[in-house]
Symmetry: C2
Subunit: 623 residues, 2 copies
């Protein structure tokens, strides 16, 4: 018998249908559906624009405020824009609804988020030279989707729109009582839940249609993994309380009546009246995924929520965020369930201006590269490289021709560079790398490699407001020129952190030129995520800090530090060159002093070229 | 700025590296590693065999009983066999260990199992004309892997080997006490567990290496979803007890000392002394996956365990299982966590001879096609087809040129056939189908399509022993000629079931020619999964049973029915042509009579051409 010709023989064929060829199919689909859909598609009612023309989504049947699923129409409009080389796609003001059911689908490996097969709202794959003008539209997503995927694209501008989800990926509850053994919460109707087998299960709140598969729970679940108390008056993480993790395997619970529930969870840190925010167990659905793209602009974009990071860019360059707002909608206290923004192995320019990042469940931004660990060395020029962090697996940066930086794991000191001759993947974690010249002397298994020419973006973060989120403000690791200017920080952890390590998170960092100028650090460090406003947290073993100079040339000037205790403003180690001058210090009574604040305002070790001026005392403004 | 050339731009590129080109890379990998690995690979030590030659895995450094990971060596050997067109790959007797860490990887859509990115033990993708002689070897898998993937392959013979897993995907515990509110179990060391936040979590038992990611539980979890009591003396599901589902979101638990645990799970059906089998929450890792392949033989293969079905074949033909044994190892009571075997849209010949299928957590086999539901009709020859069952999503059978059978959902009656002109996928569930001619009159949204030329295998199941598993014996749905002969059935549900429906499971069935000859039905129906030995369970709405004749031409002759009560031997509806003759009935006292057994030995409705002879009474053999 002949071999049957496989219909969808593997995800290769499958993916090519969904990825590269998707739009071809969609075009066909649109043409096919014309008669049924009143010829709204394919030939827009206003006639075909020539290259550089303007397209309205209404030409594809996409109207605001209908409550109907516009996913197919938007996809058709985007496809038409690509094939017709339209310059602009316009939305009329109003609300547009998206469901995952008929959305395109792609397997995505997204740095510091979870990989998987995802449904996509706006699929801008291979798109070039398009401006999407939302006209103030609100895009409302009704299920698990990545709202925007920008991949292999260039010269894209997305402006003047809002993104939100009907049922967020996280949940919230008001704390009614706390004991060492349990916490009682009152859960708003916005966060549906059920008790199954004595365990709380947050749900989508909508039962699946009747024809659901027999024997399957028809309810969509929203698994949570963490709990963190927020102060509802200040709308920020409660003073000095840490989050509890490990909830993803279930939490015993009992109903107390109405929407009140007792969670049998030990040693939850919370005050009566706090809002307990339950973080999503996974980072599956970031808001905007930008991958292998360049010249991408988001302007006046508001992202109220996403099930993962807000805006995550990887292997991309020339990224501009202007008046981007990450902020919760309605009465919710949480915006995105992870970092507001995140930039991995980016290059060119990276500018964040006049943005608002608040109430997300992790840092406001983190700009870094990736380290892969050397797992086995076969020969002086051949080794196995491993992407160790599970959320970096598949985010491959190793390819033929890439110049590799070799880094000593415990010290983060660089051995030197070699160029990859060939890279052969084994699976999403492992690849065999052959280099043109032998590895530098001293490199052993356990050391790491990074792309020496990625993570080089010149960074500008200007006039942004960063506040009320879990953890830190901005994590700076780009090797390019960095300017942090005119921002307002009010973060429970460090406002600015220099991290990077090659043994835990595998985030390549080590700044070369940073200016921190004219910012206000407004009562930061009211939480447990670091105790200095500006801090080094790089993963350098203590024994190597004396010699390592991972971060270099940091200028901190003309900033205002408003502080509520005597804790450190700056805490550094293994830095070469740091100047702290013309900064002002203002005392406040915003919070009680931290128990372990200490009394030193500048803490340093194992550094050189450090020039510090005592900050000048400033009187708080009259109330 | 130029667009960066994406390194792994999408899973398309990714998958092509892993799939089609994997072996190319591996070959290179092998050559690269030669110096380090003492030239064991690529050029086998015994010299290169010519086409049709014999290769020993030992030539690739794969030796038994070393405890080392042989995954890479086996992959190299298979690659070498393919490129050199070797006829046979030989293992020396002994134990071989496989870990997922360095295994190849592929995204698989596997019928009636869960889709995902899987690590593969033996990747026989595109392989042709190879015999793998295990020499009695035991292949031991140490983590989540699909032991064998046979895809786009032909003329493959795998013989004389055993497959097992160190830590199974399910868990077991001895029942110490049962109340309406809780069940106490003693969990053998073979099934590691922990209590996290008051919830039981079954684990892999091995902590991850020290360099694990900070903040992540380093322990591998083995999520369970069901609990079913087994009688440890009879080693079979406990008499008339049903399983409890919905455990996948967590079960509150407390330690009682040693390995004794109280599970706060209401109304668990179990007797003190039973073994409670906790079924895996997902079907991610079937044992043998056969996809789009033909002429595949498994001979003297023992599969002790898999995390999903044992042997699952889809869109494949000419499949021969000879002396295949699905049976638990050691003191475990469970073998595979789902069906022992399963055949979807298969064709040609399908033969199971002298096999043993026991103690798996679902049926011994199920031979069926797939229905896709018509979700929207754009035009007389254009519609959207949906794969509704979540474990059929991506198992696409629709392609250009396929002859489609149109089926009325509620009655399973066929409207007629049309041929697909083009099929354009939207996502893993949906595709737009254009047909060459209009759909038959009467077809509406909610009706279904199947591949009219698939699910046509001529089936022979001969001299097999089928016993002690959860649920039913064999589910027959192939449209080809079926012969069931000389088998021993001892199943808690129906031994032979004619199922199929287009609204719940979406399994196309409806037999055309079945002979059930010379089998022994030995005290079947001691459980809750059906109350007749041979039964129709097709999903035909009652109002349509009068006209529907979904199953046809069934001959039941010369069988022995050993029964412990007066319940039905045969129960049918909507059948055209059934003859029951020369069968014998033997009374036993193996179990108490079922409460609802009734007193009719043959129950029929809405059928024609039914010829029945009363079975002859037979005295039980002298003890």
């Amino acid at each position: 018998m002949d071999l049957p010709s496989p219909q969808f023989p593997d995800l290769n064929g499958f993916s090519s249908s969904y990825g590269n060829s998707l739009m071809k199919y969609l075009t066909l689909f649109i043409i096919l559906t014309m008669s049924a859909k009143e010829c709204l598609f394919a030939n827009p009612t206003n006639g075909s624009p020539s290259t550089g023309g303007i397209v309205e989504v209404s030409q594809f049947g996409v109207k605001p405020d209908t409550g109907a699923d516009v996913t197919e129409g938007v996809r058709a409009a985007l496809d038409y824009c690509r094939t017709s080389k339209a310059a602009k796609l316009i939305f009329a003001p109003g609300r547009y609804d998206f469901w995952p059911d008929r959305a395109a689908e792609k397997y995505l490996f997204i740095s510091n988020n979870d990989d998987g097969l995802k449904r996509i709202g706006f699929s801008l794959v291979g798109q070039a030279g398009l401006q999407i003008d939302g006209g103030g539209a609100e895009l409302l997503f009704h299920g698990p989707m990545v709202p925007f995927l920008i991949e292999g694209a260039r010269d894209i501008r997305i402006e003047n729109l809002k993104v939100d989800f009907t049922r967020p990926f996280h949940s919230e509850g008001k704390v009614l009582a706390v004991s060492p053994e349990a916490v009682d919460v009152d859960i708003p109707e916005e966060f549906p839940f059920e008790i199954w087998n004595g365990v709380i299960v947050f749900t989508g709140g909508e039962k699946a249609p009747e024809e659901s598969i027999r024997g399957r729970k028809p309810t969509m679940v929203k698994p949570v993994g963490t709990a963190l108390a927020f102060d509802p008056k200040r709308r920020e993480p409660a003073y000095m309380l840490s989050d509890k993790g490990g909830l993803e395997h279930g939490v015993p619970a009992e109903k107390l009546g109405d929407r009140r529930v007792r969670l049998h969870l030990k040693e939850v840190k919370a005050n009566v009246g706090d809002v307990l925010a339950f973080g999503a167990a996974r980072r599956d659905y970031p808001g905007f995924v930008i991958s292998d793209s360049s010249d991408i602009r988001l302007d006046r974009v508001t992202l109220h929520h996403s099930g993962g990071m807000g805006i995550i860019a990887q292997r991309s360059g020339n990224l501009f965020l202007d008046h981007v707002r990450i902020t919760p909608s309605g009465t919710r206290i949480i915006s995105t369930t992870a970092d507001a923004t995140h930039f991995t192995n980016c290059f060119g320019k990276l500018e964040l201006r006049d943005c608002l990042f608040e109430n997300q469940l992790d840092d406001a931004t983190n700009i870094h590269g990736l380290y892969a660990r050397i797992d086995e060395i076969f020969a002086p020029n051949r080794f196995v490289a491993r992407l160790v962090h599970p959320q970096q697996a598949g985010v491959q940066f190793l390819k033929s021709g890439v110049r590799l930086e070799l880094t000593h794991g415990p010290s983060l000191e660089t051995f030197g560079e070699v160029t990859a001759e060939s890279v052969e993947p084994i699976n999403k974690e492992l690849a065999v790398v052959t280099t043109r010249t032998p590895l530098p002397k001293g490199v052993v298994v356990g050391d790491s490699v990074a792309d020496a020419d990625a993570n080089t973006a010149d960074v500008l973060i200007q006039n942004c407001v960063i506040r009320n989120n879990r953890a830190r403000g901005i994590l700076l690791g780009s090797r390019g020129k960095i300017r942090i200017e005119g921002n307002q920080f009010h973060t429970p952890g460090s406002a600015i952190l220099f991290e990077g390590d090659a043994r835990h998170w595998f985030e390549q960092a080590g700044v070369r030129d940073v200016t921190i100028h004219g910012n206000t650090f407004d009562n930061c460090n009211f939480g447990v995520w670091g105790n200095a406003c500006i801090s080094v947290g790089s993963g350098i073993d203590k024994e190597f800090r004396k010699s390592s100079r991972y971060n270099r040339n940091i200028l901190i000037e003309d900033n205002l530090f408003r502080t509520f205790d005597t804790g450190p403003l700056v805490k550094i180690y293994s830095v070469s060159g740091l100047t702290f001058r013309r900064n002002r210090l203002e005392k406040s009574t915003a919070y009680p002093p931290r128990p372990d604040a200490g009394s030193e305002w500048f803490i340093q070790s194992d550094s050189d070229g450090i020039k510090i001026e005592e900050p000048t005392a400033e009187r708080p403004p009259e109330k």
